[in-house]
Amino acid sequence: MKFKYIIQLVSLVLLVILFACQKQTDTKEHYICPMRCEEHKTYDQPGTCPVCKMDLVKVSSIEEPVVDEDGISDKSIFNLTSEWKTQNNETIHLNDLKGKVMVVVMIYTSCEAACPRLVADMRNIYAKVDNPDVDFLLVSIDPEKDTPEKLKAYAREEHLVGEQWILLQGGMDDVREFSNVLSMKYKKISPIDFSHTNIISVFDKNGVLHYQQEGLGVSNDKLVEEVKKLSN
């Protein structure tokens, strides 16, 4: 008789636990538009975004970036394993740059139209941010011509002095991959010229893309503000 009660009690407890668990998973998940059409608005049920009609995704799947054994986020550019040469002819990997906020632009040194303005923008941002914990990266889209020596000369010419300025030469494939991470486009249109999109990107200390400024001659204020926020 006593045994039966125990069995009943145990099964009751189990049942309660079962339901408790179920309830927890039910209430925990929220859904959000992957394009953030409605900013941070979330839904309790899966469905489609009323603005862009895309399927809603679980908030948990986007807001907690997965971090692997090395502590690198899933979205980090430090997942790229490519090798690069600096203007000082040192070989580096992107994750050697971990721990600092990075402002990144892709240019080529023989460029006469857009790049000088992009580089001027970079100098401008450098002056406004004024923080030794921020790196400024210039990645060449013309690695065949832009050797470390050439990059070094370019840095001098353009007054990009100090350890915070890093100019990189990479393999053709690696540069293409890098441009794809930035959603930056470029094409060689003649032996000396490229057409390219003008984008300055901001990465946080873990290599996750945070902000991009597109176009020439736009105000830097928002970008500078983002950099300051990230580097504090």
Partner: protein, 254 residues
């Protein structure tokens, strides 16, 4: 570097006969190509190269993710593929319901396609290479001005759900390469060299040739409406996108 080591490992495995036979490469004779637009000089030289006979299939991709778990649906890093990666698969190692294992793999990102080819000791073809190989009809290595051939391509673009067909089910071209048109659209190594997108319209030197009829008269071949569509498509996608009618095949330098 990790991938290279992993690839070497696979290579040694393949020697022991575990891996499936890879897709045969077909020789493509190089030549000049007038890319649709965007070059100062108008023509570009394409070297001889080799191209996969077929697009990579679902089954081949499944074998790939079995060997490289980092490319499995649940494990892929979000920097390399957005949420639609292998969206129809039922699990990491299970194709979707009703999926034909010999249909071309789609819903894969550029990063994934690139990694797949690297692991076969191949690479993605460039836009120019792909276009050179694709302009061959069954009998002619350059069918650019063959209006029937062009008409057929356009019609294939209008046909829905061609991604569910089996590879090799359309036509084999002059080079012995199948399905360049009519099955799926394909990733190319430098697809992002096509400068049309939201942001490029603001940029000084972006290419508007594909947008406006006025500028389009500078394109190299006005009849090639299908090429306009392909270039416009390339210009509109990003490397982490995974699209239902976008697959890939690999190439190799000669």
């Amino acid at each position: 570097m990790k991938y290279i080591i992993a690839c070497l490992f696979l290579f040694s495995l393949s020697l022991t006969g575990i891996s499936q036979t890879p897709t045969a490469l077909k020789q493509i004779k190089g030549g000049t190509l007038a890319p649709l637009y965007g070059l100062d000089s108008g023509k570009v030289w394409v070297d001889d190269f080799q191209l996969d006979e077929f697009a990579v299939t679902n089954q081949q991709y499944l074998d790939f993710v079995e060997k490289y778990p980092e490319w499995q649906k649940s494990k892929v890093k979000s920097i390399f593929a957005d949420g639609n990666y292998l969206v129809d698969w039922q699990g990491d190692l299970q194709l979707g319901k009703g999926m034909n294992s010999n249909s071309p793999i789609t819903n894969v990102s550029w990063f994934a396609a690139k990694a797949y080819c690297a692991c076969q000791d191949k690479r993605l073809p460039s836009v120019d290479e792909w276009e050179l190989a694709a302009k061959a009809s069954e009998s002619n290595p350059n069918a650019e001005y063959d209006s029937l051939f062009n008409q057929r391509i356009i019609e294939s673009y209008e046909t829905p759900n061609t991604y569910a067909k089996t590879v090799g089910s359309t036509y084999k071209n002059f080079w012995g390469v199948s399905d360049m048109h009519g099955l799926v659209w394909e990733w190319t190594s430098d697809f992002n060299s096509v400068l049309i997108s939201g942001e490029s319209r603001q940029d000084g030197d972006a290419d508007r040739n594909l947008f406006c009829a006025g500028a389009a008269i500078t394109a190299s071949n006005l009849r090639d409406y299908a090429a306009f569509m392909r270039y416009a498509f390339r210009g509109s996608i990003k490397a982490d996108y995974n699209i239902r009618n976008l697959g890939f095949r690999c190439a190799k330098s000669k």
